[in-house]
């Protein structure tokens, strides 16, 4: 490359419903480089064809001219990686031969509980504990999804609760096809598993671009990120995971959720006096599973990469689904937290964290953003939201996604863009020109 300075850049956010898929394209004098950040959905838009992810993959192929320089898979939730796993759309992306694949450290193959490699044995016990816990959590999520489907068929059982179980369960299941594809693409190119402060060494792939990894921190730096991996908790998720495996494989013979006691102890009919109670127990059970799902959903979100990119003088922030636990280290606890906050304050383009949930955009970070301002403000902050309303949370509990008060703040303080604004099936994306001249 003769002139390594970026000339222009564009961020394209595809409307994949509830999920993330962003393509960052950087133009140089004689060539372009392309970074794909996530490629997943847990619920397609209402009127989108079933082929949406394949359509998006083909559009990416066309836009990139058949080659990706970097794939970032922020974390393993299905709404961020499912597209890599699907046969057709995943094949298209793999054919773009990404030069590097960047994932959080928690996805390192050596941490696979089944891997049993020497590196795994040498790895810090805490990391392995987290990895095992994530494994059990995934099994639990599988069970929860199947219980959601079973309960949906139970008479008088609230459909909304059953579908929430299924949805959140599916989101949290490990998608082996996607995980393996990411691993294979990494092996074919350059596999990167990053944690806070890592130098990614991508200057050759993305000249003139610097990337600060602000999350996830390592367990050694910030044990709170995995507080569910204490000894008791690991045991808890282990047991919960075995339930999940059994629940999701109902036909299994070894451990298939058969009644606990021999058939002589089983009643065919519910006694009259217990008829009021049985639906209450069903409901309490579903709520219990749902609450656990929310816990593990949060744990996975907190393994998310937080990337702060600088292209020329322009700063872009991609926090995946990181929540406060993950953000905490960079914002408050890292030795250089003040310096990081000053860097964050310069952000020009903010990809809104966690689909606009109530705890994906730390208020401290938001309040620090110097480019917030009204429509007339020069070099105004641009925010990009990829979301679908009505899938997560509950407005009555102030947990709806996207969160109303956050949307109001985004609209008041930035040029707020959202994937929900496009319904086009031909061009299902929004384009954001990334200003490289610096602004104010």
């Amino acid at each position: 490359m003769t002139d390594p300075r970026p000339k222009s850049a564009q961020l394209r956010a595809y409307n994949v419903g509830f999920g993330d898929c962003l393509l960052l394209s950087i133009d140089y004098a004689a060539s372009a480089r392309h970074v794909l950040i996530d490629f997943g959905t847990s619920k397609l838009p209402a009127r989108a064809p079933a082929t949406r992810m394949l359509d998006v993959a083909k559009a990416i192929e066309q836009e990139t001219g058949g080659h990706l320089d970097l794939i970032v898979a922020t974390h393993r939730h299905s709404d961020h990686i499912s597209g890599f796993g699907a046969a057709k759309s995943g094949d298209v992306i793999e054919s773009l031969q990404p030069a590097a694949v960047l994932q959080p450290w928690t996805e390192h193959p050596d941490l696979d509980p089944a891997a049993r490699t020497p590196a795994a044995a040498e790895s810090a016990q805490g990391r392995l504990a987290l990895s095992r816990t994530l494994h059990y959590m995934s099994a639990f999520a599988g069970g929860a999804a199947s219980e959601g489907r079973r309960l949906a068929a139970v008479a008088r059982f609230p459909k909304s609760v059953a579908s929430r179980l299924e949805f959140l369960g599916e989101t949290n299941i490990t998608n082996p096809a996607a995980v393996e594809r990411l691993m294979a693409m990494g092996r074919a190119g350059r596999p990167l598993h990053a944690s806070f402060g890592d130098d990614l060494g991508l200057d050759d792939l993305l000249p003139g671009v610097t990337i600060d990894v602000l999350g996830p921190p390592t367990l050694e730096d910030h044990p709170s990120i995995a507080r569910q991996t204490t000894e008791d908790a690991e045991q808890f998720w282990h047991l919960a995971g075995s339930w999940g495996l059994a629940a999701s494989e109902r036909s299994a013979t070894v451990h298939d959720l058969a009644p606990l006691f021999s058939t002589g102890h089983v009643l065919k009919r519910v006694p009259q006096a217990a008829k009021w109670l049985v639906p209450q127990i069903e409901r309490a059970y579903a709520e219990e599973v749902l609450s656990l799902l929310r816990v593990l959903d949060g744990v996975l979100n907190n393994t998310s990469l937080i990337l702060l990119m600088r292209i020329a003088d322009t700063t872009l922030l991609f926090p995946g689904d990181a929540q406060i636990e993950n953000w905490s280290y960079a914002l408050f606890d890292a030795p250089n937290a003040d310096q990081i906050r000053r860097r964050l304050a310069k952000t020009h383009v903010y990809k809104v964290g966690h689909h606009g949930s109530l705890n994906g955009t730390p208020k401290t970070m938001w309040n620090d953003l110097a480019r917030r301002g009204d429509e007339q403000a020069p070099g105004r902050l641009i925010t990009v939201l990829s979301t679908a309303a009505g899938k997560h949370g509950d407005a009555r509990r102030n947990t709806e996604v996207p969160r109303r008060v956050l949307l109001e703040a985004l609209r008041a303080g930035s040029d707020a863009r959202t994937t929900q604004s496009t319904r086009s099936n031909k061009r299902p994306w929004i384009d954001v020109a990334v200003p490289l001249s610096g602004g104010r």
Partner: protein, 555 residues
């Protein structure tokens, strides 16, 4: 480890279903209803002798939860001197011994039930087989019946108290079984002592702590408690320090509750160790092992009575640990005047003091002061005043000024409960009427100033804010006011200290999101247990994180 307990006979329906408890053996994870256990034909029910037999017998599981819940209920009735109801609309608490495949158990007011989970592994673990877990959940349901506002958010102390109280009841309930105490003391070796005896010098506070308290904690580790989280194991490790409750780590409700549990259990040990030194004669004297165990169980039993009895002397809302301590010593002193045998009040005051828990009464002996108030009784009928909430409301309304009631608030007499307790000294009855009166005031943020309160930063100006206050009134057998334990709504007469408590309460509620979001009691307890199990809030870092979660989110 098993122990035998005795219950009064009742004519049971299959379930078993009695006047206070109905065991419903439905498993939501497999959608299975198990056969209802028949009432036992014999007077004695024995646990299956083999572990395998125990695990395979749901009928025994049902009888086990029935027996433990009834024993807990009867302990409450004995301590309070009256029939006691659960915190549910009906009278029969449902207990579901195999509710779901999950290592959690909780009391659900919505389902009017105790839901006990199980875990299948190589060998199943049934939470319904753990005495302490069933007693713990039953204690939640009973405390909820006595003080329904204690499950509502108010302060770190109140958030911690429900769980700590249930733990204390469960642990003292286990220690009040002499077989258990005897079993725990078995590892204390004394080669010099004749068979069945042990040297007093071998039974120091430290030895009792190691064998009895830690021993029980270890027993529980092998038991269902290890899947559910082990309160005792964590509590006994908390070394006392006076300023600890002000530290951020112990503002977290789970940790805070464990401090109260630690204080009560250490007081129990101190009283027991002191009692042992007075047994036999001389330092080197031998004492009977069985007697030592019985004395330990007796002290645990007495302390259990004190802890339960204290609830009548607590405010109906916004309780603090200091309130609980004053209630403990006052309620006990009213019935059990002579404390010289075990000196339980002295030990409790001393140990609580070591953890920085001081009586809210501000008095040296920790007891509530008798109010310097006389209520007018024109037109009130003494008989009705002891039982009838409407008559009581009329009485309180006529005395609203002297009782500092806010006439603009919604006022409700939540309960009027006559109680009869027998004094162990002279055998005479102590007759009291316990009255709970609560007030509810809904105002807007802008009206907070008129009540001497400042709106928390960030609270919208048009938000509606609910203030709740209340008083517990203890009337003697003539209907005279004996004690007034109050947390009234803020008024001109509110002291500066009480006003500051109100401000802190408001800030706490706002920070936790309750001012705007409300609170579901059933969900609250379930998640409390789950978070505890996952050891959330273990460290100062976790606590700092919890504060951040509240501050950084878009609630």
């Amino acid at each position: 480890m098993t122990a035998q307990i005795s219950l009064p006979w009742e004519d049971l329906e299959p379930g078993p279903m009695g006047y206070a408890v109905y065991v419903v053996d439905y498993d939501a994870s497999t959608g299975t209803m198990y056969r209802q256990a028949e009432a036992p034909e014999e007077d004695t029910v024995t646990a299956p002798s083999s572990r395998r037999g125990l695990l395979a017998d749901p009928g025994y599981h049902a009888l086990n939860v029935y027996a433990i819940a009834m024993r807990t209920l009867l302990r409450f009735e004995f301590a309070l001197g009256r029939r006691v109801g659960w915190g549910i609309r009906g009278h029969q608490l449902k207990i579901v011994p195999h509710a779901f495949e999950e290592a959690n158990a909780y009391y659900s007011p919505d389902a009017e039930a105790l839901l006990l989970g199980y875990v299948r592994s190589k060998q199943p673990t049934f939470l319904c087989l753990s005495h302490d877990i069933v007693a713990h959940e039953a204690a939640h349901a009973l405390l909820d019946g006595l003080r329904d506002k204690f499950m509502a958010p108010s302060s770190p102390d109140q958030a911690a108290l429900h769980e700590a109280f249930a733990d204390i009841v469960a642990l003292l309930s286990v220690f009040s079984l002499p077989e258990v105490v005897g079993h725990l003391l078995a590892p204390v070796r004394d080669a010099t002592a004749p068979e069945g005896l042990v040297s007093k010098a071998k039974l120091t506070w430290e030895v009792l702590a190691d064998t009895a308290l830690l021993g029980l904690a270890e027993e529980m580790r092998d038991d269902a408690s290890s899947v559910r989280g082990n309160a005792l194991r964590r509590s006994v490790r908390i070394e006392p320090q006076r300023g600890m409750l002000a530290r951020a780590e112990f503002e977290e409700e789970h940790r805070r509750g464990e401090v109260l549990v630690a204080a009560v259990m250490r007081a129990f040990l101190s009283a027991w160790a002191a009692r042992i030194t007075r047994l036999g004669s001389g330092d080197g004297a031998f004492v009977d092992r069985k007697l030592v165990a019985e004395q330990g169980a007796d002290i645990a039993d007495l302390m259990l009575t004190m802890v339960i009895r204290a609830i009548d002397y607590t405010p109906p809302i916004h309780i603090t640990f200091g309130d609980f301590l004053s209630a403990l010593v006052t309620a006990d002193g009213e019935v059990r005047v002579d404390d010289s045998r075990y000196e339980l009040r002295r030990h409790l005051l001393a140990t609580m003091g070591q953890y920085g828990i001081v009586p809210a009464s501000g008095t040296k002996d920790g007891r509530w002061l008798r109010p310097d108030k006389r209520l007018v009784r024109e037109g009130s009928h003494l008989g009705s005043l002891q039982t009838d909430p409407t008559e009581m409301f009329r009485h309180l309304w006529n005395n609203r000024s002297v009782l500092d009631l806010n006439a603009n608030a919604h006022t409700r007499v939540a309960s009027v409960r006559p109680s009869v307790r027998v004094s162990p000294e002279d055998g005479f009855q102590v007759r009291e009427t316990v009255v709970e009166c609560v007030q509810y005031l809904k105002i807007t943020t802008s009206e907070l100033g008129a009540h001497g309160l400042k709106a928390p930063d960030g609270l919208p100006t048009d938000a509606e804010v609910v203030l709740e206050g209340g008083s517990t009134l203890i009337l003697d057998e003539y209907g005279e006011l004996k004690f007034e334990v109050s947390n009234p709504l803020p008024s001109k007469r509110t002291s500066a200290a009480a006003q500051e408590r109100w401000q802190r309460r408001l800030e706490f509620l706002f920070k936790q999101g309750y001012l705007t979001r409300g609170f579901n009691r059933s969900v609250g307890l379930a998640s409390f247990h789950r978070e505890r199990m996952m050891a959330r809030g273990d460290t100062a870092a976790d606590r700092a994180l919890a504060i951040r979660l509240a501050e950084e989110g878009w609630t």
